[in-house]
């Protein structure tokens, strides 16, 4: 019993207890011992080890699917208007078998990839220019606030009039929607940089380029990732709008096909695909956070 107590008292005061008599804290009853062993054996308070995405986090969505299946099996959901998971999976397997799904997903994926690449890189570049230089701020910040205020989808018809019905306006719509969240995040992070850190950098007489590359920009990573997460959400939403017009391929085309032929299982399948894509991009950003923000843990 006493041994256990000494074991915990030792490392608390390094060097100071060598000559000290054994520590006894009142009477070591079983109750106190139980208390001590609980806080030494238990997990440390505020343990910030993160669960890997996909282990416990899928519980909610799986429960949702289960409830859906249950309601279908019990006959609560009308099978013609709201088919169960099994029918949707069957329809999906069919689409995958014919190669239709593959083509649609690839087309949509390409739009998001191109649009987001343009949008995110533009957003970050403008944020850096506006954050670091007053000229940049005067040129870009108000404009970005305007873009933030105007619902992007309201200009979709204009984009089509100006740019035609090809891929161009689709890329642009996604690019505009995704540039705003990363811009807001990165710009804010630069403007709110800890002034004490900047003072410190001044005393080290860092060159401006060093200061920007090694202190300012890496410091915006957390806010950039928050922005990126929102950008992904905007991207999938913008995709739906972008694909409403003359998309010969894509997820929205599948959805429209389903509507036209009243194939509700097809429509539900597309919804499920959107959900999976949303979850996957969330997981992707979380993976980036784990890799890039190790210093925060």
């Amino acid at each position: 019993m006493t041994e256990a107590l000494q074991g915990t008292a030792g490392p608390l005061l390094p060097g100071a207890v060598e000559d000290a008599p054994p520590v006894t804290i009142g009477r070591t009853t079983d109750a106190t011992l139980a208390r001590v062993s609980r806080w030494t054996a238990g997990r440390p308070v505020g343990d910030r080890r993160r669960r890997r995405f996909g282990s416990g986090r899928m519980l909610g969505p799986l429960l949702l699917v289960f409830v859906w299946w249950l309601l279908s099996a019990l006959g609560v959901l009308d099978p013609d208007l709201f088919p169960g998971p099994a029918e949707v999976v069957r329809e999906g397997a069919h689409l995958i078998g014919t190669g239709q799904f593959h083509a649609a997903l690839l087309a949509s994926f390409r739009r998001v990839a191109v649009g987001m690449s343009i949008g995110v890189s533009t957003g970050v570049s403008l944020a850096v220019l506006a954050g670091l230089f007053s000229l940049g701020r005067n040129l870009f910040d108000s404009n970005m606030q305007i873009i933030k205020a105007v619902p992007t989808f309201s200009i979709a018809p204009l984009l089509i009039i100006w740019m035609g019905i090809g891929e161009g306006p689709k890329f642009l719509l996604i690019a505009i929607s995704t540039s705003v969240p990363v811009y807001v995040g990165v710009y804010g992070a630069i403007r709110n940089m800890d002034p004490r850190l900047l003072d410190m950098a001044r005393t080290l007489e860092l060159r401006r380029s060093t200061l920007i590359r090694q202190i300012v920009l890496p410091g915006t990573t957390p806010e950039f990732l928050v922005g990126l997460r929102l950008s992904f959400a905007s991207a999938w939403l913008a995709l739906i709008f972008a694909e409403q017009v003359n998309a010969r391929e894509g997820l929205a085309k599948l959805m429209n096909d389903g509507r036209n032929s009243f194939q509700i299982d097809l429509m539900l399948f597309v919804v499920v695909v959107y959900a999976i894509l949303g979850l996957a991009s969330y997981g992707f950003v979380r993976m980036l956070e784990r890799r890039l923000l190790v210093w925060k843990q």
């Binding site: 850190l197 001044r202 190790v294 210093w295």
Partner: protein, 252 residues
């Protein structure tokens, strides 16, 4: 303060080479005059401790010496190689310990110098640790290594141990004495802790009302013991200058 002529070449150079010269340095914030025409000469290698109540401009003076405050009037001379350590370590959280120390250093030797500096503060095994994982004392050691790696002629310390617990503070004071004995920089340390001041200083300055009201050399041999009568006597003197009367330090 003893007047020394810089132009007098006959006098032993070591004794008169001033590392820092203040000439009528003043600083106000709005109507409040914080520093009121300070004159000061600090010898090379001297360990100067500045004491004073909160808000008497100790840190302002240090910021002026560090080149962080340009809004002062008057003139000062200071070595161009200066380093500063603050009360908070101010490490860059997204850089590991070694890159924090070598921040802004160029050349092939930067890494080796950084390692050496971290070795000296006892953190040679923490090169790849993230600042967030360090204890307060360890983080402050890194800050000290970052200051020392630049081989400063003037080391400015703004309450560097103010936020540390009592045990760590004692260890850090000893570490600082070792580093200073080895590298012999001129040191200006600002603190609230009178005992710390007496233990470390070659010279004590008390700042009050914008001026130095006490300028006392401490010639006691090192290492100094907290309990030594001389230390206690000087401590009482300084406290009296600060207008604080501590029963313990009052001679009966």
């Amino acid at each position: 303060m003893e007047a020394v002529s810089i132009d007098n070449h006959v006098v032993d150079r070591r004794a008169i080479d001033p590392a820092v010269v203040l000439d009528g340095v003043s600083r106000s914030f709005g109507d409040r005059v914080i520093l009121d025409g300070l004159d000061l000469m600090i010898d090379e290698g001297e360990f100067v401790v500045i004491l004073g109540h909160s808000g008497t401009g100790k840190s302002t003076l240090l910021r002026i010496l560090a080149g962080l405050d340009q809004e002062f009037s008057g003139r000062f001379l200071a070595p161009s190689q200066r380093s500063i350590a603050f009360q908070e370590p101010r490490l860059v959280p997204w850089r590991r310990v070694l890159p924090n120390v070598t921040l802004g250093l160029n050349g092939d030797t930067a890494q080796a110098l950084g390692r050496e500096a971290l070795d000296e503060v006892g953190l040679g095994t923490h090169l790849r640790a993230w600042p967030n994982t360090l204890s307060g004392g360890e983080a402050q050691r890194v800050a000290l290594a970052r200051a020392m790696v630049r081989m400063p002629d003037l080391l400015l310390l703004d309450e560097p141990f103010g936020a540390l617990d009592a045990l760590t503070r004692v260890q850090m004071q000893e570490l600082l004495m070792e580093l200073c004995a080895k590298h012999r920089p001129t040191v200006v340390l600002v603190t609230h802790d009178v005992e710390e001041a007496v233990l470390l200083a070659d010279r004590l300055l008390v700042l009050d009302g914008g001026r130095f009201i006490l300028d006392q050399r401490v010639t006691l041999p090192r290492p100094r013991l907290r309990t030594a009568p001389d230390v206690q006597r000087i401590r009482a003197d300084v406290l009296r200058a600060l207008g604080v009367f501590d029963e313990r330090s009052e001679p009966s």
